[in-house]
């Protein structure tokens, strides 16, 4: 059993997600994968362009909301309240979905969730499903599990389609094909869409979108089973919500006879009223629109309208592990808007693939290790909390105010502890962390240490680190200079000048 630095006594974390099933971990550490990404100039150009565009759009639509901060506070508080009452809320959700003709299933982990969905699809006799973009089903590797059982899963979101046809992996929560430029997308469509008219297929986004429409229309009309995720599940009413843009979501949620929705247990919200907060926060933060083109909400089964067979699969897969920790719990507040990715200087340069997990960027760097655990060994996810410069931009944009920098720092500390435990002897960084904690816990000691570093400065050649930093910190100093300590500490400067006023 694992423990956390931030875990009060009396709490028992659930088991970690099994990284062998689904897509929560890559096969390389972040620094190794990032190095390759940094060498790919086309990728960097695509990412820089896309993230700059979305940042500007977000800033402009957030700027026009006078009560934005009040909405963020409410969003954060609703999520905190949800986590504190999670068992009751999930039971309430289950009761209401069941009362309206739906069936609720529970899955301890990825393998169990995949098994449930597979059995449900098999029971319909269908050999294909249409899918709405969903992080939860990517996390559990559902497409691969269905494929293995001879069932074809068709992704219907345009970006997911680009990823699927390109035999590629998603690299962004909202825009999974953000790493692809229009010319590459045209190449993929020309190669993979059997019925596409090559003479008229240009790399104009509107032409590419029209090609996707034609390609998928037949699938929507014949599909008998759809699989979706959910943005919100309302306990009070049993209502599920999917927020989208293209209408592929509406197609999947409306036309087939059977609908299977896979939802992480943290996506429940207490009341209908809470949507008035999240439906303002989410679209502006994610696509930078006042409202996304389509939002669908359904409660169980409506006779004569939409799927007549509805199943909701509630997924744990490491979430109860994160829940036991005060900070890990706040990582579960995430509404997957992806604003933190778009403002992150590290994400902008490396792209999403370097993170290995389906959850990339700042939130991925904290959520993934909380779900899978840090081992202190050679697990690629151990390196994720270091995939940040702690600049704090992610916290500023997060619509539910998740303090990602704080979570990163705690996970780094946990990693050093786990690393030390795994290697029995105290490692250099564990010793350094322990020393830092000892120094920082006492103001006088801290002041003396600052001055000592300043004195030591004279003996340090500029641009060389104080110590040869142990891994993974040497990944940082390998590619850049560590600053040498200042001649005078801030505290001394303040004491001498009173902030420059003397």
């Amino acid at each position: 059993m694992s423990t956390f630095l931030g875990m009060p006594a009396g709490r028992v974390p659930g088991p970690a997600a099994d990284t062998a099933v689904g897509q929560l971990t890559g096969n390389r550490s972040f620094p190794a994968a990032a190095r390759d990404a940094l060498g790919d100039t086309r990728l960097r150009r695509n990412l820089a362009h896309a993230t700059a565009t979305i940042r500007a759009k977000r800033a402009s639509v957030v700027g026009e909301v006078p009560d934005w901060e009040a909405l963020r506070d409410a969003g954060s508080a609703i999520k905190a309240d949800t986590m504190a009452r999670l068992p009751e809320l999930l039971e309430e959700l289950e009761r209401n979905v069941t009362a309206r003709g739906g069936t609720v299933h529970w899955a301890r982990d990825a393998a169990e969730a995949n098994g449930i969905v597979l059995d449900l699809v098999r029971a319909t006799g269908a050999d294909e499903v249409v899918k709405v973009k969903s992080m939860a089903t990517q996390e559990i590797g559902l497409n691969e599990a269905l494929e293995e059982a001879g069932i074809t899963a068709h992704e219907t979101d345009l970006a997911e389609l680009i990823v699927q046809l390109g035999h590629d992996k998603p690299s962004h929560i909202l825009v999974p094909a953000i790493h692809r430029g229009r010319a590459e997308i045209r190449e993929i469509f020309a190669r993979e869409m059997p019925d596409v008219d090559l003479a008229t297929l240009t790399d104009e986004p509107s032409v590419l979108a029209a090609a996707a429409r034609t390609h998928l229309r037949e699938l929507f009309l014949r599909a008998r089973v759809a699989v979706s995720g959910a943005n919100f599940g309302i306990a009070e009413t049993g209502t599920l919500t999917v927020v989208e843009s293209e209408g592929n979501g509406r197609m999947c949620l409306t036309l087939p006879e059977t609908l299977i929705t896979v939802m992480g247990i943290e996506k429940v919200v207490p009341a209908w009223r809470d949507l008035e907060v999240f439906l303002q926060l989410l679209p502006r933060s994610s696509t930078g629109e006042r409202m996304n083109p389509y939002t669908s909400m359904w409660t169980g089964v409506t006779p004569g309208d939409g799927p007549q067979d509805f199943h909701l699969v509630l997924l744990d897969n490491g979430r109860t592990r994160a829940l036991a920790d005060d900070l890990g719990r706040t990582a579960l507040h995430c509404i997957r808007c992806s604003a933190c990715l778009n403002v992150c200087p590290v994400y902008e340069r490396t792209g999403g693939h370097a993170y290995g997990s389906v959850y990339p960027g700042p939130i991925g760097a904290v959520l993934t290790p909380f779900l899978t655990g840090v081992t202190g060994g050679h697990d690629p996810n151990d390196s994720l909390p270091y995939a940040s410069s702690l600049c704090g931009a992610c916290y500023d944009v997060c619509p539910v105010k998740i303090n990602i920098p704080d979570l990163l720092v705690q996970l780094r500390a946990e990693h050093t502890e786990a690393h030390a435990a795994a290697h029995r002897l105290p490692s250099a960084e564990a010793a350094a962390m322990a020393a830092a904690a000892w120094v920082m816990s006492d103001p006088a000691r801290f002041a003396r240490a600052g001055r000592a570093a300043g004195t030591a400065r004279h003996g340090i050649r500029r641009g060389r680190p104080l110590l040869p930093l142990p891994p993974p910190l040497n990944g940082w100093t390998a590619s850049r200079d560590a600053p040498s300590p200042p001649a005078e500490t801030f505290r001394d400067w303040w004491a001498r000048t009173r902030g420059g006023r003397s």
Binding site: V12, P87, A177, G247, D305
Partner: protein, 210 residues
């Protein structure tokens, strides 16, 4: 132990004996806009926001015959030659449109795919976000009919236009099958530039009546 009991037990274990008391949820945000529902200010804002998202907006007087004339002209303008109407729309809305069938709940998706346009009403519209809500009632129609045809002609009555999202949600029954529409189908998946028209109706025509 069943998966259900085990997941619930894990959650209770993770929360500990005394789940951290979450502070009460403070709702200091605006619950209502500064303009009353149906006022000229909210209607103007709705028009501006809908047009910003490339919807076509037509304004007409409230009488069913006026709405019917506006609908016929709008369908003609987009070149729609066949249409289907939600079962509960007033007869006057479709009397000026020659080929308009009523949905009686039997049309299949494939048949619907050969229909050019759909005519429906709506329950509420939110001006700040340019959003129109449909609730599956006879006036709004089943979800399928507003999705498959390429043109959605939606009538919004002035009295149903509110300014803010909270005001809009308060008017809805959450257990109805709800669809919020804000402009035509769109994607930002290619280099994050917005393109109107993917799988849902590529043309959204809004007739504002009253």
């Amino acid at each position: 132990m069943s998966a259900r009991d085990e997941v619930l037990a894990r959650i209770r274990g993770a929360l500990g004996d005394n789940p951290a008391d979450a502070p009460p949820v403070v709702r200091a945000y605006r619950e209502a806009g500064e303009h009353p529902p149906g006022s000229a200010a909210v209607v103007d804002q709705l028009v501006e926001r809908l047009e910003d998202y490339r919807a076509t907006v037509v304004r007409t007087r409230g009488a069913d015959e006026s709405v019917g004339i506006a609908i016929a002209a709008a369908l003609d303008a987009v070149g729609a030659t066949s249409s289907i109407a939600a079962p509960g729309v007033p007869d006057g809305w479709t009397s000026a449109t020659p080929v308009c069938i009523r949905d009686v709940g039997t049309i299949t998706p494939r048949e619907l795919d050969r229909v050019d346009a759909v005519v429906t009403g709506s329950v509420v519209a939110i001006s700040e976000t340019g959003t129109i809500a449909l609730d599956g009632s006879p006036r709004c129609g089943r979800r399928m009919i507003t999705l498959v045809p390429d043109v959605h002609l939606c009538v919004v009555s002035v009295a149903d236009v509110v300014q803010s999202v909270p005001e809009g949600l308060a008017r809805l029954d959450p257990t109805a099958p709800l669809t919020f529409v804000s402009g035509p189908s769109a994607t930002s998946d290619i280099e994050l530039s917005r393109v109107e028209g993917v799988h849902g109706p590529r043309h959204l025509v809004v007739v504002i009546a009253g």
